[in-house]
């Protein structure tokens, strides 16, 4: 889905064909994941540990996703309590102005490489409370977000789909050595 389709009749060797399997287009250029990266990314992908960060109604649906019926532990995800042990933050619920500094602090406490999933329309864009005076219009104004899961609240199936998308994104992760720029303008 993220692959760049090569133009028809393009002359290139079979070897290059096998390597292009690893070339993926990203906003801002091509990323080539080598074999070593592919293996290490497999490890990162298959043991993503989310931090329990439930804010509102979506937290109840997140709990249902962690429960027996839609078990995320099948994908290797164990919810840990402390941000230090986790590498994924699922922002589930409305981010209010009083909560935003706490959210950035917890996101900064998480060790790199870390990812963020914005769950629910409240976290995506403020949702039904967008015009409230105390509500942040979307969590991407506060932290960089990797996957947006639509819905109010998104049923566990769509959250699982979001997590699988994240796993595919992690599979192409390339260690750039540059730390996330905390005050990069988002929108």
């Amino acid at each position: 889905m993220l692959h760049q389709k090569r133009p028809e009749g393009d002359k290139h060797s079979k070897l290059f064909e096998s390597v292009t399997e690893g070339i993926h287009s990203f906003p801002g250029g091509f990323v080539v994941t080598t074999a070593a990266d592919a293996f290490l990314n497999w490890a990162r992908k298959s043991s993503v540990w989310p931090v329990t960060f439930g804010l509102a109604c979506c937290a109840i649906e997140m709990m249902a996703t962690f429960a027996s019926r839609f078990d995320v532990e099948r994908l290797g995800m164990v919810p840990w309590a402390s941000p230090r042990h986790s590498d994924l933050m699922i922002v589930s619920g409305t981010v209010t102005i009083k909560m935003a500094p706490m959210l950035t602090r917890i996101y900064d406490q998480m060790p790199d490489p870390k990812w963020a999933v914005s769950m629910g329309s409240c976290a995506n864009s403020g949702g039904p409370f967008r015009h409230g005076y105390h509500v942040v219009k979307g969590v991407d104004r506060v932290i960089p977000v990797d996957v947006y899961v639509p819905g109010c609240p998104p049923p566990p199936e769509s959250l699982l789909n979001g997590l699988l998308l994240l796993q595919e994104q992690i599979a192409h992760f390339k260690r750039t050595g540059r730390r996330a720029d905390p005050n990069a303008k988002v929108d």
């Binding site: 490890a43 298959s46 019926r69 078990d71 099948r74 290797g76 309590a81 230090r84």
Partner: protein
């Protein structure tokens, strides 16, 4: 094979075997707990989730290693190592088969108790070093709990020593050929229950896991550790539990005695250790945690006097048996 060479190779083999078993014991526990909770547990990573521990370990190695600014740097960095070493040393004196073991000291079980008592030092260093209120509170609780449960743990383990009449672990195992100490009429069962109870408490496993009580102290003494240091602490914790399970299997369930040919001994020993481990895990996943003061009260008021009396009773029985009892 010159003597010094075996002294080098045997610990290397045992150490790697232990690390291998510990990583897969975490998977066993996650699968066992999942089955208890009517869910599947790790499944998609490798066939039936078998590669999950490798993925976890690899990922933890590549995590960023955060050291808090206000942390007491040397204490903070040394803590996981000081916590891990005792947990690995306890496997030194455990004989896995009549001749197979690192060092079969004649004071084997005494060595085990001494070293497993050292683990609390690393734990307190972690709690104190990370300069975090949650870690400090949980380190205080840890010192209270582990010390107050080491005594019943030792007394419960001394009963088989009295019955076998020797501190050397292989002698204790050999003394159980006819009758496993757990089936010894009354004393065996009581000692086994006291042993399991104090094992669960000494390694702060639920329902005594007030150490990393997520609901109160977020993640206890290891709240500031991330990446490989966190993996080391996890490894140490599970190694300690595994060590106690092996010891329990050796003291009470007759280490390698079992039907079938002689070379099958270590297999039986491993099976019994796994049974002990699953017993502890079963308790972990079915009980609610109790409060700090109740835990300490249980140890000092109930478990310690009981194990002392049990030891006295064993001594009386042994002496009575020795000079021509019934």
């Amino acid at each position: 094979m010159p003597e010094s060479l075996t002294l080098l190779i045997a610990p290397f083999v045992v150490l790697n075997a232990v690390i291998g078993i510990v990583t897969y014991v975490t998977l066993l526990e996650r699968k066992f707990a999942a089955r208890m909770q009517s869910r599947i547990g790790p499944y998609r990573v490798g066939p039936h989730g078998l590669l999950q521990p490798i993925a976890d370990a690899l990922k933890l190695m590549m995590k960023e290693d955060i050291v808090p600014a206000a942390a007491d740097r040397p204490v903070y960095n040394l803590a996981p190592i000081v916590f891990l070493l005792p947990c690995m040393f306890i496997f030194a004196t455990i004989p896995f088969a009549p001749g197979l073991g690192v060092a079969d000291l004649n004071i084997g079980i005494l060595f085990f108790f001494a070293i497993s008592g050292m683990e609390i030092v690393g734990l307190f260093m972690a709690g104190w070093g990370s300069n975090n209120k949650y870690a400090l509170l949980s380190a205080m609780r840890a010192v209270n709990q582990v010390i107050s449960y080491d005594l019943p743990f030792i007394f419960a383990a001394l009963t088989p020593v009295l019955l076998a009449g020797s501190l050397r672990l292989s002698d204790i195992a050999a003394a159980q050929d006819g009758l496993w100490f757990v089936f010894y009429p009354v004393i065996g069962q009581l000692a086994f229950i006291a042993f399991v109870l104090s094992t669960v408490a000494a390694e702060n496993r639920a329902p005594f896991d007030i150490l990393e009580a997520e609901s109160e102290l977020v993640a206890g003494f290891r709240v500031e550790y991330s990446g490989m240091k966190f993996a080391l602490i996890q490894l140490g914790e599970y190694a300690h539990i595994l060590g106690s399970s092996f010891l329990g299997a050796l003291l009470f369930l007759g280490a390698w005695s079992g039907p079938g040919p002689e070379w099958l001994g270590p297999g039986w020993f491993l099976l019994k250790a796994m049974f002990m481990f699953l017993l502890v895990t079963w308790i972990r996943w079915s009980f609610v945690r109790i409060r700090v003061d109740q835990i300490l009260a249980l140890s000092w008021k109930a478990l310690l006097p009981a194990t002392l009396l049990l030891l006295l009773a064993t001594a009386v029985v042994v002496v009575w048996r020795a000079n021509g009892g019934a």
